[in-house]
């Protein structure tokens, strides 16, 4: 891993990984007196699947919220596409092409699956209000394009059969998939997945793993994911950041991380003194 240059590298299975798209520099996040993240740095490369793992309360979700702009760190910098990102609202971050899913699923329950996924395209809709209402010119072209893109994603994630179903009626596993579809619809440059497999049975987990790999393969999407299940993470990801008590205790390929003594201690438990 040490010989990775700025141009990226090729993985064992032949996927091209590009240069650094986002860099977290010395991020520190506090809630009152509680240190959620302390001085963590790592980078995300284009096209890779980057995992953040760690025991409960390690600060993984906080880190994801920093990337997506839901939390603003007290210290540190986020460098996105070579530029320091100023303090931003979550919706501004989303418009820059960073899409995400939530640990506890945040969907528009009253809207259909299709409408939910369409909201993901808001970044790609620029036609004037009047044009949209009367369905003419640019608006018509845009809507057609957006519909095509959305249908492609819906097919890809195998949720065609529930396109017109209100999301509120769907079972948990499908909701997770719809949320992934909505995030994908934005054609994000970075896709953040907060515990995409939490609460799933083995079969659903396998499905979801397959979708994540396929998405990365097919669209070349850069994916950052948080996951509890060590086995899943090790199979999926190119590089892994390990957190414990708000600190980074490991960073590298799954193999490197697996043999890291600090990581083994954190997972198997060792007396903290």
């Amino acid at each position: 891993m040490k010989d990775m240059d700025t141009q990226g590298y090729t993985t064992a299975d032949g996927r091209k990984i590009g240069g650094v798209v986002m860099e977290m520099k010395n991020i520190t996040l506090r809630f009152g007196g509680v240190m959620a993240i302390s001085n963590i740095s790592f980078d995300i490369r284009e096209g890779e699947i980057r995992a953040i793992i760690g025991p409960n309360g390690a600060g993984k979700s906080s880190m994801l919220n920093v990337i997506s702009g839901f939390y603003n760190p007290q210290e540190g910098e986020v460098i996105y596409k070579g530029q320091k990102r100023p303090q931003m609202k979550p919706y501004q971050v989303a418009r820059q092409g960073i899409a995400r899913t939530f640990q506890n699923i945040a969907l528009f329950e009253g809207m259909t699956v299709l409408d939910n996924v369409m909201t993901g395209r808001i970044r790609q809709m620029n036609a004037g209000l009047l044009a949209q209402a009367i369905w003419k010119g640019k608006a018509e072209r845009e809507e057609t394009e957006n519909r095509e893109a959305v249908e492609k994603i819906i097919d890809f994630l195998e949720i065609q059969h529930i396109r017109k179903t209100p999301v509120g009626r769907l079972p948990y596993g499908l909701k997770k998939r719809v949320e992934l579809a909505r995030a994908l619809a934005a054609e994000p440059s970075i896709l953040l997945l907060d515990e995409p497999m939490a609460g799933m049975n083995v079969e659903e987990k396998e499905d979801m793993s397959r979708f994540i790999l396929d998405v990365n393969d097919e669209f070349g999407t850069t994916i950052v994911l948080i996951e509890h299940d060590m086995g899943v993470v090790m199979d999926l990801s190119d590089r892994v950041v390990v957190m414990d008590y708000g600190k980074k205790i490991g960073d590298g390929t799954p193999d490197e991380v697996r043999n890291n003594q600090a990581v083994i201690d954190a997972y198997l438990g060792v007396a903290h003194d």
Binding site: S68, F70, K89, P90, Y91, Q92, A94, R95, A99, R100, F102, A106, L107, F108, E109, G110, M111, D115, M118, T119, G120, I122, R123, M125, A127, L129, Q132, A133, W135, R182, A183, A186
Partner: protein, 328 residues
């Protein structure tokens, strides 16, 4: 008996027309409630404020004239010009958008995620503030509003009904016009909510804040937009009511009539607001006509509320509201 029937029919039609005006106010309630979960008690006062501002701009009144005069000892009341109705309506809309922005910026932005009852109390405060503010800004005297809407008996209907039934119906042109405007407004709002990006964003925000943020929707933008829309609907309602019965402070009381309308139609349904308004308008006129004289008259004052009470007992979600399902 056929005479009674024909009179009843006329009453029914007039009731429907009156109902359109109730529906217009109720529509403003539904818009805000759907998009932000706020029950906006100030909707009626917003209609009053819009009408006051419109008259003030048209007549070239100096805003805050009384305040300025009593502080500086001056005697100014009018700029001395008259603004054409169309331009004045546009300017009033600008004022309503500014109001929407201010309401969001200074009140509701700070109350995000609060209990509904707290938001409701805030809108009561807003109602009182706006009533007083309108008073200071434009004065409290009753004003005549004439933006050039057709008024008076509709000759065509009078003639036609006389030919067919032998009795000419009295239908006010203004009521017909209000009906057409209301229909156009509802149609536009539905198209807007269903087929435009902003409409989709509005429904998204109403459903889930976090998810809306994560797809790039600015909550503040949507809230200002929704309050502006409600301001627009209030302006339309203000113009209709103001033209019909003059711009006066009792106008804000029509907001109370919108409450039974909403209980009938359901708080979350745009068609519900319309149907509810029509039913109330029609119901109270017919009830007064058929039974009113037998029980001492003046039933229009309470009929709507009693009807709403019955609905609360037997169908609390209203005719079109989403069914309330309690998950256990």
């Amino acid at each position: 008996m056929p005479e009674q029937f024909i009179w009843g029919l006329e009453v029914l039609l007039n009731g429907l027309m009156a109902g359109v005006l109730y529906a217009l106010v109720a529509l403003g309630f539904v818009l805000i409630y759907k998009a932000s979960g706020i029950f906006n008690f100030a909707q009626g006062v917003m209609a009053l404020f819009a009408a006051l501002t419109l008259v003030g701009i048209m007549d070239g009144q100096v805003p805050f004239a009384h305040l300025i005069n009593s502080i500086f000892g001056t005697e100014i009341h009018h700029f001395g010009w008259h603004v054409p109705a169309f331009l004045a309506i546009l300017l009033t809309m600008v004022v309503m958008v500014a109001l929407a922005w201010a309401v969001n910026k200074f009140v509701f932005k700070h109350l995000v995620n609060q209990e509904p009852i707290i938001l409701f109390m805030a809108t009561i405060g807003l109602a009182y503030f706006l009533e007083g503010f309108g008073d200071i800004m434009w004065g409290s005297d009753i004003k005549k509003l004439d933006v050039g809407l057709p008024q008076g008996i509709n000759g065509v209907i009078d003639e036609a009904t006389y030919q067919i039934l032998g009795y000419g119906f009295f239908i006010d042109n203004l009521d017909l016009f209000a009906t057409a405007i209301a229909a156009a407004l509802v149609f536009t709002l539905i198209v807007f909510a269903q087929y435009t990006k902003q409409g989709r964003a509005m429904r998204a925000v109403a459903d889930d804040h976090q998810a809306a943020l994560s797809v790039g929707i600015s909550l503040n933008f949507i809230w200002v937009m929704v309050w502006s829309l409600a301001g627009f609907v209030a302006l339309v309602a203000g113009i209709m009511w103001g033209t019909k019965s003059g711009v006066q402070f009792s106008l804000s009381l029509i907001a109370l009539k919108a409450l039974p309308v909403l209980m009938l139609g359901g708080f979350t349904s745009i068609p519900g607001a319309i149907v509810g308004g029509l039913l109330i308008g029609m119901g109270e006129k017919l009830f007064e006509f058929a039974i009113g004289s037998a029980i001492g008259g003046a039933t229009e004052n309470w009929f709507a509320y009693v009807l709403a009470l019955l609905f609360l007992v037997f169908r609390p979600q209203g005719l079109f509201g989403e069914k309330i399902i309690e998950r256990v």
